[in-house]
Every structure is written in structure tokens, then in C-alpha cells.
């Protein structure tokens, strides 16, 4: 069979168009799959995950160390040994730094000197998500503000946008600075931003966040949308504070401070 040059070009043109279409189709399908993630049937589910930090329950240095160490260990958080390169998921600071607008020097000494546990607030109206140019940081249906380390371009707009200093950047390769790598959780690469993920990988398996488990009741986790949840119960009976609530980001981490009499 012989075909003319003209016919050949026609066929070639049409088939290359076809390849083009099926390629975009394929790409589009992959994209859809990535967006519609599956949830495990075993997983814990909520409409709006939240955490209450019951500051009264943190008494000894060990109480803080336990929650911080477990997080660092399971999430492969590197320890650079200097503040310039520092990566932090959960850490502590004192009242005047945690609540800079609420500082008053007549507060009980215990409140003034006590370390407060700090982590990402998983805001309901997160500015970090708003500014991210690639949707590498995004809000999940259950309210968790998640971070895709593979999509992040490292522009650090989210770090400028976060009013809570919750985000860290990998200024250099973190892997040599992880003492014991947990093979069940990804390590990160240089040049991407990371932060607390509310242990989304544990929730999927039906487990509560690791810090909550080891906190002896100091950290309470649950569904803010469920009136019967533990977090709602404690919030309805105790006065609580949120960091910089006036900025309108609607933090989902609450602090129960209590006075001297509770300590």
C-alpha cells in the first residue's frame, strides 16, 4: 500500500493530536487521583480537629520533654544544635512571648515563668494556605493544615504569613541531623517548609496524636464540631485563650491557663 506524502502528513498530524489529548487526559486523571485522597476505614474522623493545652497539667520538665521528644522522634525532626537552622514542630516559650498582647506584670509568678507548649494552630482561616502559590500547604476536610513537601518550592511566603512562627524551613539538608530515622515517616529535603501536621498519619490508623498520648492529660484532642467531644467538654467548663485571636485566623489550639489555685 502506498500513501501520498499529503496523506501521510494528515495521518501523522491527527495521530499526534490524539497522543497529545490522551497525554493530557492521563495527566488530568493523575491529578484528580492526587486530590481525592482515600481515607482509611480505621481512621479517626472529625469535622474540625482541635487541641486543648491544659497548662495546669504540665508540672515537671519531663512533662514537656516527653511530648516534644516523641514528636521529634516519630516525625524525623532534625536537631541542628543551633537556632539559625532550627526546625521546630512542637516547643515551648513563656507567657509574655506566647501571648505578647496579653502580657501583664501582675500575673501570678507561676503563669509568668511557666513554659507553654507551642505548635501549629491549624487555623480555621489559615493565612499560610491563602498565600501559598502552589497549594503545597492546604486545609484538609477535617481542618488540618497540611504540607506537601514534594510540591513546596521553598518561597517561604507561608513563613511570612504565619502570625504564630509555627513554620520552619530546611535551610540545609536535614538528614544528617536526624539521630534515629523513623522509616515510617518521610524525611525532608533541603529547601522546603515544614511544621506540625496534627499527626495526620496516626489519625489515619485510628491513633491520636503522639504528643497527646504521652501528655498525661495535658493535651486534649478532639472534634470541635462534636458537642460531646472531650475538647468541647473541657472548653465549656474552663476559660480558655487562643493565641492572637484578634487576627481572625481562628486558631484551633486552645490554652487553659488556670490560676495559682489550680496549679
Amino acid at each position: 500500500m502506498s500513501i501520498s506524502r499529503r496523506d501521510f502528513l494528515k495521518i501523522a498530524g491527527i495521530s499526534s493530536l490524539g497522543i497529545g489529548f490522551s497525554a493530557t487526559d492521563l495527566l488530568w486523571k493523575n491529578r484528580a487521583e492526587a486530590v481525592e485522597y482515600m481515607t482509611s476505614p480505621k481512621g479517626l474522623k472529625a469535622k474540625r480537629w482541635a487541641m486543648v493545652v491544659d497548662v495546669r497539667k504540665f508540672k515537671t520538665e519531663g512533662d514537656y520533654k516527653r511530648v516534644i521528644d516523641i514528636c521529634n522522634r516519630i516525625h524525623n525532626v532534625p536537631d541542628f544544635g543551633n537556632t539559625k537552622d532550627e526546625v521546630k514542630w512542637i516547643w515551648t516559650d513563656t507567657f509574655e512571648h506566647v501571648f505578647p498582647f496579653q502580657q501583664n506584670k501582675y500575673l501570678p509568678e507561676t503563669v509568668q515563668e511557666k513554659p507553654f507548649v507551642l505548635l501549629c494552630n491549624h487555623c480555621d482561616n489559615p493565612p499560610c494556605v491563602r498565600v501559598c502559590p502552589t497549594q503545597a500547604t492546604f486545609k484538609m476536610k477535617d481542618g488540618i493544615v497540611a504540607q506537601d513537601y514534594h510540591r513546596c518550592i521553598g518561597c517561604r511566603f507561608c513563613m511570612a504569613a504565619c502570625p504564630f512562627g509555627a513554620r520552619s524551613f530546611n535551610w540545609r539538608d536535614p538528614r544528617p541531623f536526624i539521630k534515629h530515622v523513623n522509616p515510617d515517616f518521610p524525611t525532608r529535603t533541603k529547601g522546603v517548609v515544614e511544621k506540625c501536621n496534627f499527626c495526620v498519619e496516626r489519625l489515619e490508623k485510628g491513633l491520636r496524636p503522639a504528643c497527646v498520648e504521652v501528655s498525661n492529660g495535658g493535651l486534649i484532642f478532639g472534634d470541635l464540631a462534636d458537642p460531646g467531644s472531650e475538647v468541647r467538654k473541657i472548653l465549656s467548663t474552663h476559660y480558655s485563650l487562643r493565641r492572637k485571636a484578634e487576627l481572625g485566623t481562628r486558631p484551633s489550639v486552645f490554652y487553659i491557663i488556670g490560676g495559682d489555685e489550680d496549679a
Binding site: T83, K84, D85, E86, V87, K88, D93, E96, H97, V98, P100, F101, P127, R130, V131, C132, P133, T134, Q135, A136, R151, C152, I153, G154, C155, R156, F157, M159, A160, A161, C162, P163, F164, G165, S168, F169, N170, W171, R172, D173, T189, K190, G191, V192, V193, K244, L247, G248, T249
Partner: protein, 391 residues
């Protein structure tokens, strides 16, 4: 026309190779940064943007300032800008090229830059910034090249450029407005959270850009046969004067709001920059240098006698440029991050590799300016020759 950049004096080539050498050194340091990570810079968890983003912000302004020639020429029929218009447009091209490079060197994962295109996100100001900057670059290349080409053939520019020229006017405003919005919409950074940010950006841009252009025009007169002319330079000088006064006025408005309201969050960054905070004061000397230069420049620019003296004008323009470079290319960024969200002070200072990489990017910009100006000036020189032949 580009072939005109390929022939030049020994001095021209010496300058080109000098710039290439600087770019080469910058690139070597960039490779080090690429391998090690941005930890090679002075940036940290607390001051997460620094010199690179500062240069980007400042240069967006220089780019936008081309509009200060376009508006008088095309909208007010101010014919005297006709010959130097091209210098403004090509300066804009070089500035946007530098902006793009400064963004690239600041990226933690530059290989993933296309993610911005693959996952377009209209709620991110950075998405819009990428669009307006690339659009502005394209507009100025097309407009500059076409009008210069028409000039060379001594015909009027094609009619289709006119709409593009008109479009470039609001577009120039947009690039600096969008860049200001990168900062002005962030809830936790009171130093940047100001409605006047975009206006202040534009005012400082319309001072720094034309100031730089005056210096370039004076250099062009000295080094080539093309004389941009006394009158256009004086007209630009007046633009610099008004814009610089406006810029300083806007800064004073910020200071008033912060200190009369006495809201700590709004005062602390100013205190850190101009007086030092909690015993940290690395920025204080340069911020005061910026202030003194601004005051001196404004005095020299306001007095007609000094403004009309071209050497003094050149000095005043250099003072404006350096003053605003410190204020916007450095202080504005660092001030936004100090104190940090915990009201603690972490200081920032660029490291040597970071500085060399930044100088390398500036050298790229100067290379682009040199090549484009060489083309433009060669065309102008041809015109001068043909004119003198006919007489």
C-alpha cells in the same frame, strides 16, 4: 538591531567581560548555595526573607518607574522625553530580569518553579506577581524594540504598539501594587500591615527609578556621542523631587500612626530599625544613613539652583537611590521580621556568599542594560550622523 551590541570599542568590551567575570563568580557561589541550601545565607527561621527578596522588591520599583517617562510623553505630549524614552523602557527590562533572578536565587527548590504554573493559585499574591512581572517584561521588550526599530528607519511606529503602550501604564502601576500586596496583607506582621504600603512603594519607585535614569543619562552623554539633553534630565529631576518628598511623607505617616497610637506591635519594628531593640541594633547605622541621605537629597533637589547644576543633581540622585535602596531593599524586609511573632529579636545580616550572589545578579542586570543601551545609543548615533550629513 542586536548586531549593534556586537561591535564596540575596547572600553565597551572590557566592561562586558568585567560583568561576565562578576556574573561567573556569582554563579560559582550560587552553585555552592544550590548544593548546601539557603543556610549559606544569613536568613533564619525568624528572618526568613533577606537581601534577595529586598533587591527584588526594590527593583520592581525601578522597573515600574519607566511609566514616569511614558505618561508625560504619550499622555501629555511632552516631546522632550522622546529621545530618552527608550532608556527608561530598557531600564525596566533589565530591572525585571534582575527581579526574576532574585526570586530564583531565593527559592529553596528552584527546580520546582513550574509548580506555580502547574498549580495556578489565584488566592496567592505571588501567582499574580508572576503574571504581572512577566507581562511587564514582555510589554517593555516589545514596545522598546518596535519603537526603536521604527526610529531607526525614520518611520512612525506601527499603530498596533499604541494600545500596548497605553496598557503598559496601568501595568507598571500594577507590578508595584501587587508587590506591595505581598507584604501588606499578612496578618501577623504589623510593620507591613499598612494600607499605604502600595502607595509608598510607588512613591519610592518613582524617585529611585528616575534618579537612576538621570545618572545613566549623564553617563551616556559622557561616554557616547548621544546627548540625552539638558531639558529631559531637568524634567526627570523634578519628578525625582516630587516623588522623593512624597515617599518620605508616606514614611512619616507610618511613623505617626505607629507612635501616636502607641500600639506596641506597630512601634517595635521602627524602634528596632532606628534605635535598636533589646540591645540589638545592627540596622541602626544604615537606617540613619538612609535618613540623612534622604534629607540631604531633598534639600538639594528642592533648591532650584542646586537642582539645575548637573553635578549636584547627579549627587542628589545617587543619594536618593542609595537612601531608598537601604530603606526598601533592606530595612523594609528585615523590619517586618523583627521582632518575630514571639516578640523576640533575631538579627539578620547577609553573609559573604549571599552578597556575592546578589552582586552577580546585579551584574546580570547591568549586562542587560549595557547591551540594550548599546543598541539604542547606536541607533541614536546613526541618526545624529545622518542629520549632520544632510546639513
Amino acid at each position: 538591531m542586536l548586531e549593534k551590541a556586537l561591535t564596540g570599542s575596547r572600553r565597551y568590551w572590557g566592561w562586558i567581560f568585567f560583568l561576565l567575570a562578576v556574573i561567573g563568580v556569582g554563579f560559582m557561589f550560587y552553585l555552592r548555595q544550590f548544593a548546601y541550601g539557603l543556610g549559606i545565607t544569613g536568613m533564619s527561621r525568624d528572618v526568613s526573607w533577606g537581601l534577595y527578596i529586598g533587591q527584588f522588591t526594590f527593583l520592581v520599583g525601578v522597573a515600574a518607574s519607566a511609566v514616569m517617562l511614558v505618561v508625560p510623553y504619550y499622555l501629555h505630549d511632552f516631546k522632550k522625553f522622546g529621545k530618552i524614552l527608550i532608556l527608561g523602557e530598557f531600564l525596566a527590562v533589565a530591572s525585571v530580569v534582575m527581579c526574576i533572578f532574585f526570586i530564583m536565587v531565593d527559592m529553596g527548590q528552584p527546580m520546582r518553579v513550574m509548580n506555580i504554573v502547574l498549580h495556578p493559585t489565584p488566592n496567592s499574591i505571588m501567582f499574580w506577581d508572576a503574571i504581572v512581572l512577566n507581562g511587564y517584561l514582555l510589554l517593555n521588550i516589545v514596545i522598546g524594540w518596535t519603537t526603536l526599530g521604527a526610529d531607526r528607519k525614520e518611520v512612525p511606529p506601527p499603530t498596533w504598539v499604541k494600545p500596548l503602550i497605553y496598557l503598559s501604564i496601568p501595568w507598571a502601576i500594577s507590578i508595584h501594587t501587587v508587590t506591595a500586596f505581598l507584604y501588606a496583607g499578612l496578618p501577623g506582621r504589623p510593620f507591613w500591615l499598612s494600607a499605604i504600603m502600595a502607595a509608598r512603594f510607588l512613591a519610592s519607585a518613582f524617585a529611585a527609578g528616575p534618579a537612576f535614569l538621570i545618572i545613566l543619562a549623564l553617563l551616556v552623554r559622557k561616554l557616547t556621542k548621544f546627548d540625552p539633553g539638558k531639558e529631559p534630565i531637568q524634567a526627570l529631576g523634578k519628578i525625582v523631587t516630587y516623588a522623593m518628598i512624597t515617599s518620605v511623607f508616606f514614611l512619616i505617616l507610618e511613623v505617626f500612626t505607629a507612635f501616636y497610637s502607641q500600639i506596641p506591635g506597630h512601634m517595635l519594628s521602627f524602634e528596632y530599625l532606628y534605635a535598636g531593640l533589646d540591645g540589638f541594633g545592627k540596622m541602626v547605622p544604615i537606617m540613619w544613613i538612609s535618613t540623612v541621605l534622604a534629607v540631604v537629597a531633598i534639600i538639594l533637589l528642592i533648591i532650584p539652583g542646586t537642582r539645575k547644576n548637573e553635578s549636584i543633581l547627579a549627587f542628589a540622585c545617587a543619594a536618593v537611590f542609595v537612601s531608598l535602596w537601604i530603606d526598601k531593599g533592606f530595612g523594609l524586609i528585615v523590619g517586618g521580621f523583627v521582632p518575630n511573632p514571639f516578640e523576640r529579636v533575631t538579627e539578620y545580616w547577609p553573609t559573604l556568599p549571599e552578597t556575592i550572589i546578589a552582586i552577580g545578579v546585579w551584574a546580570i542586570g547591568f549586562l542587560v542594560i549595557t547591551v540594550l543601551y548599546k543598541v539604542a545609543i547606536s541607533v541614536r548615533e546613526e541618526q545624529i550622523e545622518s542629520e549632520s550629513n544632510t546639513h
